[in-house]
């Protein structure tokens, strides 16, 4: 985590938020059928996770290779409460997210003292433990085959159909980015960035590293669980793959690919890396090779990630120093 968390000034981030809101409002004009809506919804849900994860990785400077575990727990929590215990889905969703936040708080306290690769290992181990438990406790989770999840609804109203889901997810994404950017510009966000720069220097000016790392960790875990729970209700089916190590890696890759310390970067990273495999299916057996090559080439030539690099190129083209 060597790069400094150079954040855009508040005015630039507000511009980003307006651009995002306009993009999600206009996007349906370019979505011809249910399948494309489906992809857009998955992009939105992944983007919510990535915006949260970016607060932890890009701003507070702490790595997590286990966020798919929180995503999976959020999804299975609401699925089990709703399907096996008959809870109304809004209650099961809220309870699941709250439980994951509490768990993240309990896990985060000891492991956030670790640094660098030790923290990567600890979060990775936590993610693996979650995914093995989910795959093994088939009495509750249906095991490796997964389980079906009741649709999200309350008192006769059921959220169904791609278009309805699109607007809900789009609204939640814009709200998440708004929340994230306000946090980044708040004293707490400045504390995160200070920690990223130097933990010693930050504590010398009175920032409690443990407390602030923990808040970024819990918030990002809660957002992952929230998106996981929504994904479960939306797709109506959930498998342990969503909680797997590979999914954790995918989430981190989205954040770094789009550009760390940039909420727009997290959204763009999620959008590109969610749609890319769909687009690459035309290459059939070459799909994986292409995905790996695109990922490598982008990171080699744009080491700061897509959005910061392009943003700087744009600023340079306008002849205005940044």
């Amino acid at each position: 985590m060597a790069s400094p968390a150079a954040a855009a000034p508040p005015s630039a981030s507000r511009k980003g938020l307006v651009a995002l809101a306009a993009a999600v409002a206009l996007l349906p004009l370019a979505l011809p059928n249910n399948y494309t809506y489906e992809v857009a919804i998955v992009v939105g849900l992944n983007a919510i996770v990535c915006v949260g994860l970016n607060l932890l990785i890009g701003y507070a400077g702490q790595i997590s290779l286990g966020h798919a575990g929180f995503f999976g727990l959020g999804a299975y929590g609401t699925a089990i409460l709703a399907a096996r215990y008959g809870w109304p889905t809004p209650a099961s969703l809220a309870a699941s997210v709250a439980a994951v936040a509490l768990l993240a708080w309990a896990i985060g306290r000891p492991i956030l003292r670790l640094k660098g690769h030790a923290l990567a290992m600890a979060t990775l181990g936590m993610g693996i433990i979650v995914s093995v438990v989910i795959a093994t406790e088939d009495g509750y989770t249906g095991g490796p085959d997964g389980m079906s999840v009741p649709p999200l609804g309350f008192a006769g109203f059921v959220l169904a159909g791609e278009r309805a889901w699109y607007w809900v997810v789009a609204g939640l994404l814009v709200a998440t980015v708004w929340l994230a950017q306000n946090l980044i510009d708040s004293p707490r966000g400045r504390a995160w960035r200070a920690l990223h720069g130097s933990e010693v220097a930050a504590s010398a000016i009175g920032i409690d590293p443990a407390r602030h790392k923990l808040s970024a960790f819990v918030l990002s875990a809660a957002l992952a669980a929230f998106a996981g729970a929504l994904t479960a209700h939306y797709s109506g089916f959930i498998t342990p793959a969503k909680a797997s190590f590979l999914h954790s890696i995918e989430l981190v890759t989205m954040v770094v690919f789009g550009g760390m310390a940039s909420s727009m970067g997290a959204v763009v990273g999620a959008a590109v890396l969610t749609t890319l495999p769909q687009l690459l299916t035309v290459f059939k057996e070459f799909e994986m090779v292409m995905l790996g090559a695109v990922l490598m080439l982008t990171m080699i030539f744009m080491p700061q990630g897509l959005v910061p690099t392009l943003g700087r190129a744009l600023a340079a083209a306008r002849g205005r120093p940044r």
Binding site: A120, M126, I249, L291, I300
Partner: protein
């Protein structure tokens, strides 16, 4: 000791030796570049798959093993030359994502060069099990343990008795000072990637007769090797070996006595506990200089 315990210990040591080889690969690259190479597991896969492919094509086994290790080494060199070197100066996390991209690319290439089926490599000296205190011992186990011991001895010689090995150590101690002494950091990085790839491929060839091989075995083996390297203390050579053997034994004993479905959970619970209580790994004290 009961025969059952001996059996579990043997299994644990065999798997642990493989983890140790993979962990050494992680440690060597980490020391030279501070990159956690997520493509390390793919070298193991390439070793196993290339050996299986060569044997299926009619090559004698020793030659197949040699081709596999040499081939993986070339892939490692290419990875450094084509992907890591052009990105030098990038943040470490970017370099890590590059290695993740490389692992996806290599898995994809493996499905193209070979296929998505499960392959096996014949055991190096027959399948007839030996008896040891009531436990059965596959001859391949002796190959795994023997080859690991030999490799560790060779590595020790390489890092302590050759100029190239000492140059690698110098770079991992202090990159700038090494550079000022006229050591080519580029060449050190190149050698580190080649060496790590060869170690991974060797592990892949050794374990393939016992556990089979396919295009996607690298993910789990890489993960375990990474865990072993951290358990022992990242960047430490003896740590990687101790970590690997410890991880193998924990898994084998956990699977044998407690629950086979939860063997990975035991391993990672112990790693979490070790990280929280011994943050510098089993190999002990925090060192300002790290050795392989």
């Amino acid at each position: 000791m009961s025969a059952q315990l001996v059996q579990f210990l043997l299994t644990g040591l065999t798997v642990g030796a493989i983890y140790a080889l993979v962990a050494l690969g992680f440690a060597i690259i980490f020391n030279a570049s501070h990159v956690i190479n997520f493509a390390q597991g793919e070298f193991v896969m390439i070793g196993g798959m290339a050996a299986a492919g060569c044997v299926e094509a009619g090559l004698p086994l020793p030659l197949a093993a040699l081709v596999a290790v040499a081939g993986a080494m070339l892939v490692g060199l290419a990875l450094e030359k084509l992907a890591v070197e052009p990105a030098r100066g990038a943040p470490v996390v970017t370099l890590i994502i590059i290695t993740i991209g490389a692992s996806i690319l290599l898995r994809g290439l493996a499905t193209l060069v070979w296929d998505k089926k499960i392959h096996s490599v014949p055991a190096f000296s027959g399948e007839a099990p030996l008896k040891l205190g009531g436990a059965t011992l596959l001859p391949q186990t002796l190959w795994v343990l023997g080859a690991t011991v030999l490799t560790v001895a060779l590595l020790w010689w390489f890092f302590n008795r050759t100029l190239t090995g000492k140059a690698i150590l110098a770079v991992s101690h202090n990159r700038l000072a090494a550079q000022l002494m006229g050591i080519s950091v580029r060449r050190v990085l190149l050698v580190s990637f080649g060496l790590s790839a060869a170690l991974g491929a060797l592990a892949g060839v050794l374990i393939a007769p016992i556990s089979f091989t396919s295009w996607d075995v690298g993910v789990m083996l890489g993960l375990k090797g990474f865990a072993a390297a951290i358990l022992g203390g990242m960047g430490s050579g003896p740590g990687a070996i101790i970590g690997g053997l410890a991880l193998g034994l924990i898994e084998a004993l956990g699977a044998g006595y407690l629950s086979s479905a939860y063997k990975d959970v035991f391993a990672f619970v112990i790693i979490l506990a070790a990280l929280i209580f011994l943050p510098d790994g089993l190999a002990g004290r925090r060192r300002s200089t790290e050795r392989v």
